[in-house]
């Protein structure tokens, strides 16, 4: 047997490697996705006032800090025992839509579109954002502008694009202004046009990747996401629903504040990232997927006109549920369209401009739990405090970790389908691309930070390393 290791994995958020075990005949026997960074953010929270947590938790990640701020703020709301003013909730929702928009734009346009537009086998030196300039300049320009739109909304609300700290227990810091609203509203037509044209482009491109769609992480699994009271797409407040790979309802109306009663995590020795699972099904049978694909599989509708048309078409790609990991890209673009539509709705919502944005209270509970839909999936924060509101324990269940087993399966399926020769860069890129479908944020999931390397190690039948393929950045 031989083993191959890809390290570092490129064009993802964080440090990881992939190992591929070959059998005596040189065929892929198994493959694993290892997360090799560690940070221990939960431990650092202990002993600090819970009011600091939103600002503190935003530092978990530079890509999706808003999600951590929101989940943390909601946990703080629960500790205070308050219902926040409508204007504060609208601001938080606006920030979350902006965050999903900018994060998805980064994933699709900056990280994954070179594979889609230039081909999986294009030379690595060209298969990047600069490689798109010659023939896809308008596509790229629109992608950059879309991310800028989302980042600008976050900056207007939170004062800065990365690690905004305007939301906390009880609400948000400042009222939203007419000037801010008007600036955002002016972007909407361009954003709608850009997402729509990218969607049309991707749907055409998918026909060029039948093998990748069919064999880069195409398997049944559970899907978990938040839905609203009517079963529609929801990012901020709702209940948890789980469906299986055939679209059958497994669980619904689960309280996200009780997530620890039906979700559990287990470690594996080869990765710092844990493996969450749905408790009634046990591990590993209870592994599930979260994020754009899961949200669109779980939701009956999106609630906005353009995105609903796309969702109906999207659901035709599956049999009860869409199980192809490659369709995370399509789901991501549909979500971007939905988010722009929701942002447009909020610009016409007078409650957004309300002056009362903060409910004041002292700590009333010893335990607070907040959740929201982050770009990569459902995010949970659970805090325990003492009588003075000092943190005794923090437990973060991160979206990327919830996709851990699915990424393992996607890597293994891709390796088994495509691997012929460790020197074939296109094959290695497909293995990486299988992970990129999930847009993993390893900084979040291990609560760590760093650059973005990928290493592939090849191990022989005797367990000794045969070869290492690494990218510098």
């Amino acid at each position: 047997m031989s083993r191959i290791v890809i390290e570092p994995v490129s064009r993802i958020e964080g440090h990881a490697k992939i190992s591929i075990q070959l059998d005596e005949s040189g065929r892929v026997e198994s493959a694993k996705f290892h997360v090799t960074e560690f940070r221990g953010f939960e431990k650092m929270c202990e002993g600090r006032p819970f009011q600091e947590m939103p600002g503190f938790m935003s530092r978990v990640c530079g890509i999706c800090p808003v999600s951590h701020v929101l989940a943390s703020s909601k946990a703080g709301d629960m500790l205070l025992g308050v219902e926040i003013p409508p204007a504060a909730e609208k601001q938080r929702r606006l920030a979350n839509y902006a965050q999903v928009l900018q994060s998805h734009a980064l994933s699709f346009f900056h990280l994954s579109s070179p594979d889609l537009l230039l081909g999986m086998d294009a030379p690595a030196a060209q298969r990047n954002i600069f490689g798109l300039i010659e023939n896809h300049a308008d596509f790229l320009r629109r992608g950059i502008r879309l991310r800028q739109f989302g980042q600008r909304i976050i900056e207007l609300l939170g004062g800065k694009r990365i690690h905004p700290g305007w939301s906390g227990p009880g609400g948000v810091l400042n009222p939203f202004t007419v000037e801010q609203r008007d600036e955002i509203a002016a972007w909407i037509p361009e954003a709608i046009e850009s997402v729509t044209s990218a969607l049309d482009r991707l749907k055409t491109l998918l026909d060029s990747f039948p093998d990748e769609v069919g064999h880069m992480g195409n398997f049944p699994s559970l899907f978990l996401a938040t839905v609203n009271e009517e079963g529609g797409l929801e990012y901020y407040e709702g209940s948890i629903r789980i469906v299986d790979g055939a679209g059958n309802m497994i669980a619904e109306a689960l309280d996200p504040r009780r997530f620890f009663t039906y979700l559990a995590e287990t470690p594996e020795e080869y990765s710092y990232m844990k493996f969450p699972y749905y408790q009634p099904f046990g591990y590993p049978q209870g592994h599930y997927r979260v994020g754009p694909l899961a949200r669109l599989n779980v939701a009956k509708f999106t609630g906005t006109a353009r995105a609903d048309r796309e969702l109906r078409e999207f659901k035709q790609r599956g049999n009860g549920a869409v199980c192809q990991s490659f369709h995370y890209h399509l789901a991501r673009l549909i979500e971007m369209l939905h988010c722009v539509e929701r942002i447009e709705e909020l610009m016409d919502d007078s409650e957004l401009l309300g002056e009362n944005v903060h409910a004041k209270a002292s700590p009333n509970r010893r335990e607070g739990i907040g959740s929201c839909e982050a770009p990569r999936g459902t995010l949970f924060h659970r805090y325990c405090v003492d009588d003075n509101g000092v943190m005794e324990k923090a437990d973060l269940l991160i979206a990327t970790a919830q996709n851990h087993q699915a990424m393992n399966l996607a890597v293994e399926q891709t390796a088994k389908r495509f691997f012929r020769d460790a020197a074939d860069a296109g094959v290695l890129n497909r293995i990486e691309a299988a992970i990129r479908c999930y847009d993993p944020c390893l900084s979040c999931s291990t609560h760590a930070l760093g650059q973005l390397p990928l290493i592939v190690d090849v191990f022989g039948a005797d367990g000794k390393p045969l070869r290492r393929m690494a990218r510098d950045s």
Binding site: F130, A137, R141, I144, L452
Partner: protein, 141 residues
């Protein structure tokens, strides 16, 4: 001459925030502060006649403003962006036709604190002086 200055760094990591401190002292140009460069910075510099990127540099012996060493489109595989990559993107996609500069400020202590080391604080003053002179000289270095 419309000039944009972008200070790069994390003010919670000691001298990594020295560019932020320097730019606070300069008022004659449009200013941006950021943790790191991202592709959308390419859109922001597009309308300017000149851009200057200010950053802490452990390898710099002295504070120095100099023309950016631009390169043809480089391979780009991460979400970490250099000034040269941002300028290349701006020229290729957003019709940036201006001049580009970097201001390197010596830095030595990146521990978790908001204060600059005494040496970096002095260099921040010097950087502000050089940037002000650059504006007064209409970017003729």
């Amino acid at each position: 001459m419309r000039t944009l200055a972008i200070a790069i760094g994390n003010v919670l990591r000691g001298d990594d925030g020295v560019a932020h401190a320097a730019l606070e002292l300069v008022e004659q140009m449009d200013r941006r502060w950021c943790f790191q460069l991202t592709p959308e910075h390419a859109t922001e510099i597009a309308g300017y006649d000149a851009v200057v990127f200010i950053d802490a540099d452990t390898g710099a012996g002295q504070t120095m403003v100099e023309p950016l060493r631009e390169s043809p489109l480089p391979p780009q595989v991460t979400h970490l962006w250099s000034p040269a990559e941002i300028v290349a993107l701006a020229r290729a996609l957003f019709r940036f036709a201006g001049r580009a500069f970097v201001c390197r400020i010596p830095a030595e202590d990146f521990s978790a604190r908001e204060q600059l080391s005494p040496r970096a604080a002095a260099h921040a003053q010097e950087a502000a002086r050089q940037l002000t002179r650059m504006i007064e000289d209409r970017c003729e270095l």
